[in-house]
């Protein structure tokens, strides 16, 4: 089948037009595809057959590495996880919203990873290590299972209106990563992390709009995780 693929392109090195700097613009491509193809296949096809300068990030191609999150038909998704037959014959692809665009579908990620690092995303436990593994019951392990799935693709944070309104907001992805440790029975750093997240740009910016849950390609219940972190902050103060 033939698909009408629109891509929001941006070339930061393009010559200025009438003195004004280059701007993003839509370009249309006709692509002949199999309905089971993913959007990533379409982008690769355009790059191979129509315009080699089309730029996008990709690596594993099956939803684990988190490289190819983008805005597809108005929703944040991974290009490698959404099929043509789920989208129809008109497909539009744009970079993730709310993040600075570097070129075509590539956005600046350093701010996103900076926020991730700000929540101390590592196990904190200063007790002497036992000879063998620390014991953890299956129930305690299950407590934070959902948030271990995060692949840091930024689909959630860049879909969040609170983040668009205030880019200083730490954002859902960083809170998910903090949750993964706060609720791990082996971790002793909850107090430090909750302190960070109780900041004015921490969890209170969440307005439970649920865009993040919609956007998450890993099916993480992000809003619930944020609410659990908020409750933990309140519980600590109470």
């Amino acid at each position: 089948m033939d698909v009408n693929l629109r891509i929001l392109r941006f070339d930061p090195e393009a010559a200025p037009l009438a003195g004004s700097p280059p701007k993003p613009h839509w370009v249309e491509y006709k692509v002949s595809v199999d309905p089971m193809d993913r959007v990533l296949d379409l982008l690769i096809k355009v790059k191979a057959e129509q315009d080699g300068s089309l730029s996008f990030r990709r690596s594993c191609g099956h939803g684990i590495c988190g490289s190819d999150a983008m805005l597809i038909n108005g929703r944040n998704r991974l290009a490698c996880r959404i099929r043509v037959d789920q989208l129809g014959k008109k497909i539009s692809v744009a970079p993730l919203p709310g993040l600075p665009v570097v070129k075509d579908l590539i956005v600046e990620m350093s701010g996103f990873f900076g926020k991730y690092r700000s929540v101390k995303p590592y196990l904190i436990n200063d007790q002497p290590e036992p000879e063998r593994e620390r014991r953890q019951s299956p129930q305690d392990r299950a407590r934070f299972d959902d948030t271990t799935k995060c692949i840091l693709c930024a689909a959630c944070t860049s879909s969040c209106p609170s983040f668009w309104a205030r880019p200083e907001y730490v954002g859902p992805a960083a809170i998910v990563q903090a949750h993964r440790f706060i609720f791990d029975s082996r971790d002793e750093g909850a107090a430090e992390r909750l302190e960070i997240l109780a900041d004015e740009d921490g969890v209170w910016r969440c307005r439970t709009i649920f865009n993040c849950v919609e956007a998450c390609p890993r099916g993480i219940n992000i809003t619930r995780a944020i609410l659990e972190v908020s409750s933990a902050i309140v519980g600590r103060r109470g």
Binding site: A48, G52, C60, I64, G66, L123, S137
Partner: protein, 581 residues
């Protein structure tokens, strides 16, 4: 721009990150360079588990793990290295747990373990529960945990820096030492030099030379090809593993964990055909054997509907096991194949998965350049890009993770020792110029030249069709001619993108050059090895020939292609025997 460091790690998968962590703990001034972001590395896609003889659920011993590794590799494994692998698997897995890795747990809170292909109790008696796992995202959790620890220890990362050349003081083929790397910064196209005493290559595999592969687009063998171009040999390239259960047509992996949990393989008649090939281990026979059995079934007309695939059936495992222990691969089947594994069997076919060969190293992860084990000072390799060799002619499931953990850790420790006793190399004049000239030549050509995508596709087709699960002289000779033709055409490759910012087309052209070099070696080494061993299966030479071929190949870059030499296999404990399961 020149960046002086004491150690450089190229590639931020499991091996690179663990090495960087060791270096950081020792206070060595270290930089990690990756062409992706660290969390995008391919270690993250490993699914089923990491084997270590913890014996949490049943009796197990590292000696059994060592034996399985040697036999699984069809006796081409270096046994001194396999012993280290099996012994240190235990302490590295425990250390990962201490770092916070969320393993699945037994009812009494220990690390849970499950069965995996080729891993047995008591030297081959039957399957053993050895694979430690975190659902079916074990690699994801390893990658995340190691990255978290690197952040905790303040490791310095250079994300989206693609290494395009290696620097040496003197000729590495004649005693020169490593001096650093040249990297292309994707964000602006600038070339940077990173100067260091010790350089680790942990750049992963090169499955992208095949059409159907489980490998990420970025797995193009960069580090391996750069070594080869600098006169360092590459080892055992004729051995490439095809994993039995890839999604039909696109190769995405459905983990062996599905079979470890009890999933079965069925032919068109609904028979568990593995009973005819490996009656003891059935579907949990090593991957090379299962992939061959599948080809045999397909050739005999017993593929599903007479076509080129078979069924993986997990329906009888029940919803609970499938959702708790195999959630991701169930999801893959739903998304990429439109199949519901709870209700119907999943069509599968072998997919190009893992390079047993790579940059030769000793057990300290130091790169060696000949059959006598002469070290290239300051140059290290670990993970899939290296060949130590613990996988021999065929890797066992989960041993890739064990390999990168054990030898990534060893690399970091050895680099720290080495860096403490040598001086930092001086800046090398015009270090970036050869690479700048190469890249400018590609960018400067008329856009009417050869296309990256076309050459890459032709390469992937010929490698898949002629250098796959079964090979013979006719197929390989034709492949050799084709690869040479493609290499010649690649001299005229041209691109449309003239820019500097994220010129991904330029980098793909660079990567295609690496794939072509490595494919050339693979085909030449496969043509030379006139026997069948592990994953290298010659229909014109169907028997293993220990008298002539119990040796590793070493391929050196020559004028018109690779020159092959050979080196002995280290046999310490287990004498070669016929390999049945």
């Amino acid at each position: 721009m020149d960046h002086p460091f004491d150690a450089i790690v190229v590639g931020a998968g499991g091996a690179g990150l663990w090495a960087a962590l060791e270096l950081a703990r020792e206070g060595v001034n270290t930089a990690v360079l990756t062409k992706l972001y660290p969390t995008r590395s391919h270690t993250g896609t490993a699914q089923g588990g990491v084997c270590a003889a913890l014996g949490n659920l049943e009796e197990d011993h590292w000696e059994w793990h060592m034996f399985d590794t040697v036999k699984g590799g069809d006796y081409l494994v270096d046994q001194d290295a396999a012993e280290i692998l099996a012994r240190e698997a235990i302490e590295t897995v425990i250390e990962l747990e201490h770092m916070g890795l969320p393993f699945n747990r037994t009812p009494d809170g220990k690390i849970d373990q499950r069965r995996f292909g080729g891993h047995t109790s008591n030297y081959g008696e039957g399957p053993v529960r050895r694979a430690c796992f975190a659902a079916d995202r074990t690699g994801h959790m390893i990658l995340q945990t190691l990255y978290q620890q690197c952040i905790k220890h303040g490791v310095k990362f250079f994300d989206e820096f693609q290494v395009v050349d290696l620097l040496f003081e003197g000729d590495p083929a004649k005693g020169g030492r490593a001096a650093g790397v040249v990297a292309h910064r994707l964000a602006d196209g600038q070339l940077h030099t990173f100067r260091a005493k010790a350089v680790l290559l942990s750049t992963g595999g090169f499955g992208r030379m095949f059409r159907i592969t489980s490998n990420a687009h970025s797995l193009t063998g960069d580090g391996v090809a750069l070594c080869y171009r600098h006169g360092i040999p590459i080892q055992d390239m004729e051995f490439f593993q095809f994993h039995p259960t890839g999604i039909v047509g696109i190769g995405i992996l459905l983990s062996e964990a599905a079979r470890g949990e009890g999933g079965t393989l069925l032919n068109d008649k609904g028979e568990r055909f593995m009973a005819n090939y490996a009656p003891k281990l059935m579907e949990l026979a090593p991957r090379d054997m299962v992939s061959r059995a599948m080809y045999q079934e397909i050739r005999a007309g017993r593929g599903i509907g007479g076509k080129d695939y078979l069924y993986l059936d997990v329906r009888h495992l029940g919803r609970k096991v499938i959702e708790e222990k195999l959630p991701d691969i169930t999801d893959f089947a739903r998304i990429y194949q439109g199949v519901e594994p709870l209700k119907e069997p999943v069509p599968v076919q072998p997919t190009a998965h893992y390079a047993m060969g790579g940059i030769p190293t000793n057990v300290f992860s130091e790169v060696v350049r000949d059959d006598k084990g002469t070290v290239v000072p300051g140059l290290f390799a670990a993970g899939e890009c290296a060949c130590v060799s613990v996988h021999g002619a065929n890797r066992l499931g989960t041993n890739s993770l064990v390999d990168l953990l054990v030898f990534g850790r060893r690399a970091g420790r050895q680099m720290a020792r080495y860096a403490a006793k040598v001086e930092r190399p001086q800046p090398i004049a015009n270090a970036v110029e050869p690479m700048r000239a190469d890249l400018d030549a590609i960018r400067g050509r008329e856009a009417s030249g050869e296309s990256v995508a076309v050459i890459r596709k032709e390469l992937q087709d010929v490698m898949m069709d002629n250098v796959g699960v079964y090979r013979d002289a006719t197929l390989l000779t034709a492949a050799l001619a084709k690869v040479k033709e493609l290499k010649a055409r690649n001299q005229k490759v041209a691109i449309a993108d003239r820019g500097s910012v994220f010129n991904t087309e330029l980098l793909e052209a660079q990567e295609l050059g690496y794939l072509l070099d490595l494919a050339h070696v693979t085909v030449a080494a496969a043509l030379a090895r006139t026997e069948s061993r592990g994953a290298h299966s010659r229909e014109d030479y169907p028997e293993r020939d220990d008298k002539k071929w119990l040796k590793h190949s070493l391929a050196y870059q020559g004028k018109d292609g690779p020159t092959l030499r050979y080196k002995d296999v280290s046999i310490t404990t287990f004498q070669p025997k016929p390999r049945t399961y």
